[in-house]
Symmetry: C2
Subunit: 334 residues, 2 copies
DNA sequence: CGAAAAATCGCAAACGTTTCCGCTTTATTT
DNA sequence: AAATAAAGCGGAAACGTTTGCGATTTTTCG
């Protein structure tokens, strides 16, 4: 279990360990002959540089803390995947933390990450309170928020243009002939507020009546979408399409509709938001608005890297464009 | 950005920094009055212990490297989630690495993890070759394999009893009246070999003919399941049920069947394996075999902790029981 | 009241790196 | 050939922590 250190190969090579360190790091003040000899020796002896020791003196861990409410969630899993890939390709590693549903744990993990001396933190907030919750720490370490739009808060973030997403979605529904479109979902976060706004803007432009049905739940899951949709369908259905604020909710609606034999897309068109993998399944084929998760993750680590490596100070807000993904749950009507 | 160190609070408290360290760690050789004073001071000054410095002297990072082919995969995301939660509750943090599809990258990331001085490695292998691929490193650091059955290899692992899963699945199909059950899937890993064996065993016991249709793909995805299923359905359907070796494949089969208007479960019963979240969606409701992902993850970190903390040396093989999840894709015939 | 024992605390080494600075040795120039 | 420059390398400090050991003070007890 005892690993070989610089000293070990230095002794074997008959040089000082400073020399070995320089040889490895490609310092120009080492002769090319000794360098080759040392490198070969390191290889033979199985030397790997101890990153924790290196971090000590470099005051840099090449570590990025990634905190997500739950990686066990298709959306965040995808973000986490691309973030890790991108980070590693730039020499960083990811320390993963699930912040769970409560703010206490969220605060705990960012504190923990600070103790670990991460160079930066990438956080997808669990609630609109997250910003306040961890603000005490965000000035101690470069931080960028991911996926949640913070509007004009003094905090860097990258998010999708949620407003635009619902805007193009409703227009699409309109183009298909729909004139009565119900918006299904709460406005408990800025992200969801913006989604509602995009819908409202489109309605105004198109001369449509705005109609809302608010989910009472903070966390959108297919199950609470389902529960709520049952309540919705207990009332008269005087609309021809539903815009669900998330795919999860849309899936719940689908489930309730199937149960009540309300034909989708026959009687009701349905469109979701996020484009999570489950939407692309057979029998589901949910039309939705795609959040460019890959680009979001990549841009977020780029932004973070810029702060870390160049000490960039300002707050930059990166807004990426979502796109419409036409599948099977929206139908043209006459 | 400069964080406060032991020295800083020591100076402020008028004691040596050794005293501060001991006060924080609860050493008995510190007076309770000074201890309280110091703790309060630490709190006021916002001191957090530097884990990388601590790791240096402790020769322990409290870090577990988690390598998965891709967290962007429901099955692994779930494992990752529970592993992180469990690890953190025991004082460990997770360093996440996607090993991707190729062995080179897998080897790269475990090397990298070693350089990071992780206390242990939790790895869900990307292929049967993983064991050989990283064997050079698995004796340098406690390692446990997750989700892949390694049979009698000298390597600790926790996996589901895959053989038992297909066994109970086939029996379930039999009890529903099915006498011609096709097994759909390759046997490219031990895990899948075992799944096939469970099916074979059940067939023998029940006097059923064994019928295989092999997927040519290493990675099972709904898409290649779909492609293959189309080929399958081009031939006469002289069976009444399909046992898909993975849910992903089952989903692909479902897609192909829908396209060809082969009624599931009307004409064909279908059962999958893994119980990924997508199986529980409306319109899908795939009957499947559940791998106890939560327990698997938890047991794996327990096993790893045992190796790390107690230096346990032997190889332990933990096999967890899968269970049948009855949903909507299997029908009684008769 | 004096001595031994117990209770507190400080000193300094150690963990494995990186890098500044200085010391040789060799090459270059006049 | 002497002086200067350049190249190659070693010594040692520093990063922030833990901990064995010694030093000092306080308590205890005969």
């Amino acid at each position: 279990m005892k690993s070989v250190t610089l000293k070990d190969v230095a002794k074997a090579a008959g040089v000082s360990y400073a020399t070995v360190s320089r040889a490895l790091s490609g310092s120009p003040q080492i002769g090319s002959d000794t360098r080759e000899r040392i490198i070969k020796l390191c290889d033979e002896m199985g030397y790997t540089t101890n990153y924790v020791a290196r971090s000590m003196v470099m005051k840099k861990t090449d570590l990025i803390g990634l905190v997500v409410p739950s990686v066990d969630n298709q959306f965040m899993a995808e973000l986490a995947y691309y973030a890790e890939m991108s980070a590693r390709s730039h020499g960083y590693n990811i320390m993963l933390c699930n912040s769970g549903p409560d703010l206490k744990q969220e605060k705990t993990v960012v504190k923990l990450l600070l103790g670990r001396q991460v160079d930066g933190i990438l956080i997808v907030p669990q609630s609109p309170k997250t910003y306040e919750n961890i603000r005490a720490y965000t000035d101690q370490v470069p931080t960028v928020f991911l996926s949640e739009n913070l509007r004009d808060q003094p905090q860097s973030y990258v998010a999708a243009d949620n407003s635009h997403g619902t805007y193009i979605g409703t227009k699409y529904l309109y183009d298909l002939g729909h004139r009565d479109i119900l918006y299904f979902g709460r406005r408990h976060t800025t992200t969801h507020q913006l989604r509602a706004e995009g819908y409202m803007k489109a309605c105004q432009e198109l001369g449509l009546q705005q109609r809302f049905f608010n989910s009472e739940f903070t966390r959108s899951s297919v199950n609470n979408g389902y529960e709520l949709a049952k309540a919705l369908f207990a009332r008269p259905i005087d609309y021809t399409a539903i815009f669900a604020s998330t795919d999860s909710n849309a899936l719940g609606i689908l489930k309730a509709a199937d149960e009540l034999r309300i034909d989708i897309p026959g009687r009701l068109s349905l469109i979701g938001f996020d484009n999570i993998p489950s939407t692309d399944l057979p029998r589901i084929e949910l039309t939705t608005i795609d959040q460019p998760k890959r680009d979001m993750a990549i841009q977020a680590v780029d932004m973070l890297r810029d702060k870390i490596e160049n000490g960039t100070q300002g707050y930059v807000h990166q807004i990426l464009m979502p796109t419409l993904v036409k599948r099977g749950t929206c139908r043209e009507i006459g």
